[in-house]
């Protein structure tokens, strides 16, 4: 297929349908409304089910049901709505059900606003709901990745029997860029012998998250944690530009990763040795690679549209070897490359302690 100009939210939706999506359960909230609208328009005509639920709570539980029944299913929302989904996400993680959840992040807390932000980072990468669990979290940085990482999200969800979150924001959702969809035919198929499809010639399957016998529950938790360890080994993804000789490495994902890249390019033109490190998987976080890059004479700047969230993971990764600074904006304000470059200069000139 030729390159076409699409909004990020639409590219994501189209990729999901091409990935064999069978059901989308949604609820209106800005700035993700293009996704359910696209689904309502196209999914029923292409073999799937679109349903507007009565709430985000209901929508995520519909996702639980359909995922448990063995089909590819997704929901999308934005920050306050994602908070409402946390109960269901915890159950989905505990039940080891594959599904894709899109968060087009807006500024918060509370009702907040409808401007792009990254304040849901902790919620996305540390679990978000109750209990010990992890989502696989993918952070697209452009419209092409909104599509590609959505395709990947479905494959990872099925491969690992785990919920996968695509963490986007209002800018990535609304911006238009050229996008190309791969022509490699049918989506990947995964066997789901555990799914509730009707107990024909087999024992009944049960999708369950209740675990009240403590020693058994501990064993089940250990099995879940072992799965997370394997995901950490196999699925870490990131992008690096100009890190080899860098005195300062800018770390940013999604929209802030784009800003960081522009700042890096401006810095290089000035002859400053600045690199970019862009995590693509936020969980698992590319901590090993960041640790390799850390050295005492090298400094890091976390570029965020949040109050200093990802910076904690960067600090954990570099483990005190390198200093880590924050360059951020809040409340739906987007940092400019000039802001980040100014911070970089301050650090290089030793004006920041």
């Amino acid at each position: 297929m030729a390159r076409t100009l699409m909004k990020g939210n639409e590219a994501l939706s189209e990729a999901a349908i091409r990935a064999g999506l069978k059901a989308f359960y949604g609820y209106p909230i800005t700035p993700q409304n293009e996704i359910p609208a696209y689904m309502a328009e196209h999914l029923p005509l292409r073999g799937g089910v679109y349903l507007q639920a009565e709430s985000e709570v209901a929508a995520i539980n519909m996702v639980y049901g359909a995922a448990g029944a063995g089909v590819r299913v997704m929901t999308s929302s934005s920050s306050p709505g994602i908070s409402l989904k946390q109960e269901g996400i915890s159950y989905i993680a505990a039940g080891q059900l594959p599904c894709v959840i899109v968060n087009v992040v807006r500024n918060g807390p509370g009702l907040g606003g409808i401007q792009p932000a990254q304040g849901d980072y902790f919620q996305a990468v540390k679990g978000g709901g109750h209990g010990d669990y992890r989502l696989i979290v993918l952070a697209p940085g452009n419209v092409q990745e909104m599509a590609d990482l959505t395709t990947l999200a479905f494959d990872l969800a099925d491969k690992w029997r785990n919920p996968v979150m695509v963490l986007s924001d209002g800018i990535l959702g609304q911006m238009m860029e050229p996008v190309e969809f791969a022509e490699n035919g049918e989506p990947k198929q995964f066997d789901k012998p555990w799914a509730t499809t009707g107990a024909v010639n087999r024992k009944p399957n049960v999708v369950n998250t209740l675990d009240i016998i403590a020693d058994k529950a501990e064993k089940n938790m250990q099995a879940l944690l072992a799965k997370y360890e394997k995901i950490k080994e196999e699925e870490v993804r990131w992008q690096e530009v100009g890190t080899e000789d860098a005195d300062v490495i800018l770390v940013g994902y999604g929209t802030s990763g784009r800003v960081a890249r522009s700042a890096m390019e401006m810095a290089r033109k000035e002859g400053l040795k600045v690199g970019l490190f862009r995590p693509i998987t936020l969980w698992p976080f590319p901590e090993e690679r960041l640790c390799e890059l850390a050295k005492p004479e090298r400094q890091f700047i976390a570029v965020e549209m949040s109050a200093g969230q990802m910076i904690e993971d960067v600090r954990l990764a570099v483990n005190g070897i390198s200093p880590v600074y924050l360059s951020n904006r809040l409340g739906g304000m987007v940092p400019t490359p000039e802001d980040v470059l100014a911070k970089t200069r301050e650090i290089l000139e030793g004006r920041v302690n």
Partner: protein, 250 residues
């Protein structure tokens, strides 16, 4: 001699955890008998809820999903929409369905989701040790209404069949009781009907089954049946509140 009564195939061999005399066991068996008599065990996907019937997935001999508190109708919707040829049912208590899950049940009914809902109303939260439920009767003493439920403090008990009957969506709504064998047999017929309605793709079907909780009511199982007949049945009148198949004359 021929066997005229035995455990239905749609129940597993697992011994149920319910307290002695708890009518949940009767209602489980009625659901299983309905599934057997319609020959739909291999198509059935049940959704267990949270409360005393949380372990229903151990007892029904068919595919099961265990849902979060109150969300069973949403989970059932998710399943049924992608597997319309399966028979999907929820099994929910009064706290689950009429309190925390009120939005989910009302909207599933309004959409006329083609699912079967078994709603067990015993006027109390059993699993959490006897708190006031949305269906607790006026004057009824519970752990959280120790001087009896009053209108001033807690308002009125909710009548789910009557409430859902205000909607266009439901295809079948019926309230039955388990206080004696005649009523249990009636309840069995209503439950079977609620599955047939789904088979015929008529839409949302719910059977509200009045049930006892002798331990939390503080009486013997036999006395609990009598209390239910004398107190619950008058407030929650038995009968059919909606039956679209009757309108069509079949």
């Amino acid at each position: 001699m021929q066997t005229v009564f035995q455990k239905p195939e749609a129940l597993t061999d697992v011994a149920m955890h319910y307290c002695p005399g708890c009518t949940h066991g009767i209602i489980h068996r009625l659901v299983a008998e309905a599934i057997d008599s319609l020959g739909i065990r291999e198509q059935a996907i049940g959704i267990a809820s949270v409360g005393c019937s949380v372990f229903a997935y151990d007892y029904f001999n068919c595919d099961m999903q265990q849902a979060a508190h109150g969300r069973a109708p949403a989970v059932a919707t998710g399943v049924k929409r992608v597997r319309p040829e399966n028979i999907v049912f929820t099994y929910q208590g009064d706290g689950d369905l009429a309190s925390i899950g009120m939005a989910e049940i009302v909207h599933a009914a309004a959409r006329s989701e083609n699912i079967t809902v078994i709603f067990v109303n015993n006027a109390i939260y059993g699993m959490t040790s006897g708190q006031m439920a949305p269906t607790t009767l006026l004057g009824q003493k519970t752990a959280t209404s120790p001087r009896g439920r009053t209108v001033e403090e807690m308002g009125y008990p909710i009548k789910m069949c009557e409430l859902l009957a205000t909607l266009e969506g439901p295809a079948y709504l019926s309230r039955v009781s388990t206080h004696d064998s005649r009523h249990v047999l009636q309840a069995g017929r209503a439950i079977k009907k609620a599955f047939e309605v789904q088979q015929q793709k008529k839409g949302f079907a719910m059977v509200e089954v009045l049930s006892t909780c002798s331990v939390n009511w503080g009486m013997t199982p036999v006395n609990a049946l009598q209390w239910m007949e004398e107190n619950m049945v008058p407030y929650y009148p038995l009968g059919v509140y909606r039956d679209v198949t009757a309108k069509e004359g079949n």
